[in-house]
Symmetry: C2
Subunit: 184 residues, 2 copies
DNA sequence: ATGCGAATGTAACGACCGTTACAGGAAAAG
DNA sequence: CTTTTCCTGTAACGGTCGTTACATTCGCAT
């Protein structure tokens, strides 16, 4: 009786696609069902409720993001080289939707929505671990703090990008260059 | 007949309070009206529609934020000293709700909600100008880029804080210290 | 006092939302 | 073949949303 499980998993995949493409605000039961070619009634046959479905989809999305990041397989690099790369990755159409979604989840969890907050932490945690893994540090005890700083800066770029604030991102990248050359 | 204008302005103030305290998701017409001690029917008598009211409230909030920031009246300081101060300000219960709200607006504008995106840009623009004004730079042409970097980092801290990610913020602050001492 | 426009209450509309009741049909088990 | 269990469509429930129609009251100028 793996038939039921297969069907369930297929629904999760399609819900994840829809979530990634249209965000939480459009992830209503009827709309998600339409995107999956079924009815809300059916989704509630396979899932306890809407939250159950969305949590499964979001969990799948974190796994997908980890797969994408790992497939990049790039070598370690120092902090000031990593930041521009993170910005470039942020604009990569394959990665960008994940960050956009995690921004929405962060905003949701900033209100009371603790159910999605846990998953937002999971997505961001995976991304953070990846940042830490590609960072080249001189002293190993600097890894976590510098990864945290790089992570925060990237999230900030994401907000700027969401605001579509023209040249601010370019200015900030220039700021990184200035700080780097100041330390040389 | 300034009576009508006064009443209207009073509604804007109360809507702004409610917005700041409970965020966009709770800023429904009926709830905002209840918080203002009136009815949704009345709000629509003084405002064209819900968007009209919320935009007026958000515009008022940006003015309020500017006033708070200006009242700090602190002297210029270099980049690595400014960042911890921005983080401290982020935790200031007087400033924090504004940043939380701007995060929600950024997430909204990351979807199609362009109407609120314009106001999100306004709030963030004012905050950005203030950051630029308290930054001490050696060469004046570095001001905008470094302000942009400081701004992005602060927004990133805001996301981390929204995610309530335990010690990551402390780690990132440590990262700033490391980068600063590396350049010394 | 009267009339007129502004203010306000009551109630509803239609659109979505998540969820469920009910029933018919397919499919498997006896 | 019958029965039982799972699948799925239809329709609705109760709720909230933004918005509006209608009616009433109030304030004020004539």
């Amino acid at each position: 009786m793996t038939k039921t499980e297969d069907r369930r998993q297929a629904f999760v995949e399609m819900a994840a696609d829809h979530l990634l493409a249209h965000g939480m605000r459009e992830a209503t039961l009827r709309k998600t069902a339409a995107a999956a070619g079924t009815s809300g009634r059916m989704l509630l046959h396979y899932f306890a409720d809407k939250d159950d479905l969305l949590k499964a989809a979001l969990t799948l999305l974190t796994a997908r993001l980890v797969r994408i990041l790992d497939s990049a397989r790039l070598e370690q690099m120092p902090f000031q080289a990593l930041l521009p790369l993170l910005v470039a990755m942020m604009k990569d159409p394959q990665v960008r939707p994940y960050l956009r979604l995690s921004l929405e989840l962060a905003a949701l969890s900033a209100d009371g929505e603790e159910s999605y907050g846990a998953i937002a932490r999971e997505i961001c945690g995976d991304f953070f671990d990846w940042v830490a893994s590609v960072l080249k540090v001189e002293r190993e005890e600097d890894r976590i703090p510098l990864a945290a700083l790089a992570f925060a800066t990237t999230e900030g770029f994401m907000v700027l990008d969401a605001l579509n604030s023209g040249s601010i991102i370019a200015d900030a990248l220039e700021g990184i260059r200035i700080r780097s050359s100041a330390s040389a």
